[in-house]
């Protein structure tokens, strides 16, 4: 069980360009954190840094866990799946079961796989090739693959972005259920504020170099600040005028 996620003074740069600057964050277990912010704010970079796919230049990410090593599940916005590669959904989900050394699955693993497929409502897709599934079905299969490893922390990188409203709600309801049943901690990137209001416990608002955390109400109800963040980012991208993010923002440089 995850006890805490602590990010201290994280700094990530690519080719001399600073993507994350002194980002600090303290995440409580069993909570859903929405990460919002304009494009280029470093939201995906943050998730990839937590996954260990990107090595920060400075700062640390501490995942305190009862077990030796915390398990992290990850569901990206989309995956490149060869439509002609006819792997059935069951096999695709079971790919996540990598903790055992034996090539064949144990009874326990078979049971967990079955339970997870029922949980995510992918059991009726079991024999269908993943390449032939609809967007919503695929995302549920990807979620099932992430959950089959019983993650302590689940990272969703705009996983519902390409889905219709019904599929989005269905997906997020599953995530919420996983939080309630297993105490999974969730960080999810989302651009849909209605979705954030419905499912998040806390929000991390990100824009280049400035971050603010708070409860859903306090951040989303501050319309002036939100407008400022998204508008200034747009201006910065178009005109590159100096200090657009810092000059106009009422957000603090450090997180709570």
């Amino acid at each position: 069980m995850l006890r805490r996620v602590q990010i201290n003074d994280l700094q990530v740069s690519f080719n001399g360009e600073e993507i994350l600057k002194d980002l600090s964050l303290d995440v409580s277990p069993g909570q859903m954190y929405a990460i919002i912010g304009p494009n280029g704010a470093g939201k995906s970079t943050l998730l990839k840094s937590i996954l260990g796919l990107i090595h920060p230049q400075h700062g640390e990410i501490v995942l305190s866990c009862d077990q030796k090593k915390p398990v992290i599940g990850y569901v990206p916005q989309s995956r490149v799946i060869d439509d002609d590669m006819p792997i059935c959904a069951r096999d695709f989900i079971s790919l996540g079961q990598v903790s055992s050394f034996f090539p064949w699955p144990s009874r326990r693993e078979k049971r967990i796989l079955h339970e997870m497929m029922i949980f995510t409502d992918t059991d009726r897709l079991a024999k269908k090739p993943v390449g032939k599934l609809s967007g919503g079905e695929r995302q549920r299969v990807f979620l099932a693959q992430a959950l089959v490893r019983h993650p302590d922390l689940l990272l969703l990188d705009e996983s519902t972005a390409n889905l219709d409203p019904d599929a989005q709600t269905r997906m997020m309801e599953l995530v919420k259920k996983a939080v309630h049943e297993w105490g999974v901690t969730v960080l999810f990137i989302c651009h849909d504020f209605q979705m954030v209001r419905a499912y998040a416990d806390h929000i991390l608002l990100m824009t280049r170099g400035y971050y603010k955390t708070g409860d859903v109400q306090s951040i989303l109800d501050d319309q002036a600040m939100l407008k400022n963040v998204f508008q200034s980012s747009f201006d910065e991208g178009v005109t590159h005028h100096e200090g657009s993010a810092s000059s106009g923002l009422s957000v603090s440089a450090s997180s709570r």
Binding site: M85, C88, D91, L95, G96, V98, K132
Partner: protein
């Protein structure tokens, strides 16, 4: 037919190699490494030609060149190596080197033909033991790394996010592929390694949607193709390799028809 030692040896060696190729082929196809496998087999041709020129065991030359080639591919990065231009350059260079070594060693045409097209009926008992050892090594290594390899081959994004060492998995697999290629070249030759290592696996994925099913079916098609090749070659005196390739190709084209029929049925349902 089985009263002859050479036919018994051919059946034993061919069956073992077919099983190994059937298994490894599924991962070669999943990782889109068909042409990398083809290039490594040509590098193997250069290695075997060098061994003949230097007067050493052909298997040693094959292994040395294919393993070095795999490490080279691993260093360059598989993605870069998949590019057409890189493959053409290295494939041509390997063939050129092979011809150079054959010429420098003043090696007879028969040997060149064996290297390029294989000689399954020329296998002696010592070769059998070599093949048994190498096949077992490859199969045990594939079993040991099965889950990681499977994850990385069919869903690299997921494998990377799950913290698997994907670079080491990739290099390890390339090395195994080099070993498997070296031993297969001795049976079907450098030009036709492709047929045993990729066609049965490519055919298998048209018939089944389970990864384990693909492995079983791919091995079965490879084994049947070798048996068909040996029996047909024995009775017709035509090259065994031709019959192996023909069987694999027919399995593949029948697979395409089967796959289309199933697709149509699914669409109707």
């Amino acid at each position: 037919m089985f009263q002859y030692d050479f036919m018994q040896h051919a059946f034993i060696a061919g069956t073992l190699i077919a099983i190994m190729c059937g298994v490894i082929g599924v991962f070669i196809i999943a990782r889109s490494l068909s042409f990398v496998a083809h290039t490594i087999s040509h590098i193997g041709f250069a290695g075997a030609a060098f061994a003949a020129y230097a007067g050493i065991d052909p298997l040693v030359g094959l292994l040395a060149f294919t393993l070095a080639g795999s490490v080279g591919v691993g260093q360059m990065g598989v993605r870069m190596f998949r590019r057409d231009a890189s493959i053409s350059v290295i494939l041509s260079l390997a063939l050129g080197l092979g011809i150079l070594f054959l010429s420098l060693g003043n090696i007879q045409g028969n040997y060149s033909r064996t290297l390029l097209f294989g000689s399954v009926v020329g296998i002696d008992l010592q070769d059998i033991w070599q093949i048994v050892a190498i096949t077992l090594f490859v199969l045990i290594a594939l079993c040991a790394g099965y889950r990681w390899l499977k994850f990385d081959s069919f869903d690299q994004v997921g494998a990377q996010a799950a913290g698997l060492p994907i670079r080491w998995i990739s290099i390890g697999f390339l090395l195994l592929m080099a070993v498997a290629t070296s031993v297969t070249i001795q049976i079907v030759g450098a030009l036709l390694v492709f047929s045993l290592m990729t066609v049965p696996a490519a055919a298998a994925r048209l018939y089944t949607q389970s990864i384990f099913g693909m492995i079983l079916l791919s091995s079965l098609i490879a084994v049947l193709s070798v048996w068909f090749g040996l029996v047909s070659g024995y009775y017709t005196n035509a090259p065994v390799s031709f019959f192996i390739v023909a069987f694999d190709a027919v399995s593949y084209f029948l697979g395409i028809i089967y796959h289309r029929l199933m697709e149509r049925r699914r669409a109707v349902a």
